[in-house]
Subunit: 187 residues, 4 copies
């Protein structure tokens, strides 16, 4: 598959989209430091165009989960803003267990899951899902198993590119954009 299309049959099966955080919803950067009183600060850079893509998935009837292998307040803040209730941060990247429980709870099968990933902490989950998407900046072992790769980098529109491609393949993109713009055209 190219970055330009996802087969309709694969796309239509998807019920749940799992997003990694560092390298996917961000460009893998983490801003660390302290203020003058020695209190540590940590920031991550998220992308507003990506955020709208995530919302479009949910308007298209898809479930979205954020699953990170590192704990950071930034991730929880961003998930809350996007309205993503399933936000899981697993220290040391033990992601499979939490995803298995999530699928059980949601009644979703592995081939109904899409994941957007960038690195080997994602591999245990990525290998099992029905649609394996990776970002332009993914590492080699992850690219090797991918069905689809974005042309844009994580944190720089890769997630939006995936959302657009997935909704396009499901035949939903134009309708969602039209409804969104129509709603904002009411005064």
């Amino acid at each position: 598959m190219s970055a330009e299309s996802i087969p309709a049959a694969v796309a239509e099966r998807v019920k749940l989209v799992i997003l990694d955080v560092d390298g996917v919803l961000t460009d893998a950067g983490v801003y660390m430091g302290e203020d003058a009183e020695g209190r540590s600060i940590e920031l991550k850079r998220f992308d507003i165009q990506d955020g709208l893509g995530v919302k479009m998935l949910m308007w298209g009837g898809l479930d979205v989960a954020i699953v990170s292998g590192r704990v950071s307040a930034a991730t929880a803040i961003r998930a809350r803003e996007l309205g993503v209730e399933e936000c899981h941060q697993e220290p040391d990247a033990h992601k499979l267990k939490v995803v298995e429980k999530l699928l059980e709870r949601k009644g979703v099968a592995w081939d109904q899951v899409a994941m957007v990933a960038d690195d080997i902490p994602d591999l245990a989950v990525l290998k099992r899902v029905g649609l394996k998407a990776v970002v332009a900046n993914a590492t080699e072992p992850v690219i090797r198993v991918a069905d689809w790769q974005s042309t844009r980098h994580g944190g720089r529109g890769a997630v939006r590119e995936f959302c657009d491609a997935l909704l396009q393949a499901r035949g939903d993109l134009e309708r969602i954009v039209d409804e969104y713009v129509e709603d904002r055209s009411r005064t």
Copy 2:
């Protein structure tokens, strides 16, 4: 239209320039996190060259408004520094209503408005304005309706590029730069 010129007739009609924030005055990035006491922090990255462009528009007799579809203290801080009094932040991107009121209040018609936009939250307004400008990093549905696209990305000089192009098309750029430099040459 290319990124290099705006027709003089279109440019001369403009009385008000509306700027989006995320993706236009910024590169769509938002820096989120917490300090050690759990207080959340949010930063946006603005561009100083863009800021001078905004001021040049105002020196050229144009009105400038900032209209964002997301609420952030960063936007208000930046608008204040630039001297842009019309700074509107509409949660959930309901921008049309506020812009209609603004036009009424200012006595400005739709074809006297230019807008710089990047994404579908801008479309309801963008479609109505006389000069539809979009940034290099705009999404497809927005590029499709554009009259003019910058070569530079939002937050990386796109707004300055637009300001220069608009003032050039109005025949005002050289005069404004000369007056600015002359004023700073007094000692």
Copy 3:
């Protein structure tokens, strides 16, 4: 002049190097926001390789001044770290007056000054100096008067590139690097 060499005669005359801040010592980005208690925060991104370049100028016997057209605590912090005592921040970019006083106080003539600039707030000073250097991301009116343009962007090594080129043209670069490394080779 190309980005690769500065004429020895011009370089040898230089006694004082004036550096702009936004767009020169930074990539023109300014990070703005608030913490949860509504206290505003402003950060700028400086470059460590640039910083060493500034120190090399001073080791080479040159005076260095930072002259900004905008007031920011970040600039003062960075100047202090670099050991640059002449750090002037002039609101609304009235730079010429402060530079004239500086030259008088130092007993330096205009043709003994080099400046690294990016935008029209620098022009009143830039036009008068002996060596007019601009960064890759400089705006058109500034590029037009330049003697030398860096290949690297402001905040991304442009200042270091200038420092290396100036010291090279003066025949001092190799000696300064060698002495620096030799000093760090003592145990």
Copy 4:
């Protein structure tokens, strides 16, 4: 040597990897500023993919040390998160002394050391080590002595690229990745 391979004989000798911070574990950027109460803040941007590379080195039985020529709380925070106990920050870049003591304490010879470097503060140490690696954004005098140069910039995957290349040359990369993924595949 190219960016793609490190000779097995050189790689197999390595027992200790020394990483510089600014320009190597970061893109040389330092974010400086103040909050509204005048308390200074300093942040650095680290890369999560790099961080996993550092951990992979340690899983591969290699010692890792971070040696910076500038003191910053950000560096200490990042070292702690990565589990790198040997984190040394030497004001004014006097690195050789601390590295000599480190080698003595660890019982490691110079030709058993690899270093990833970007600028002349690294040279006194870099010249002595068995494997001299530099990042894409390294300065000329450092590139001149390098055995290996990454294609990626510091803070943007350069360290991960080095870690992958070193472990590949030692014949350990595939095994470490497989074990990591296998461990995360247990539920």
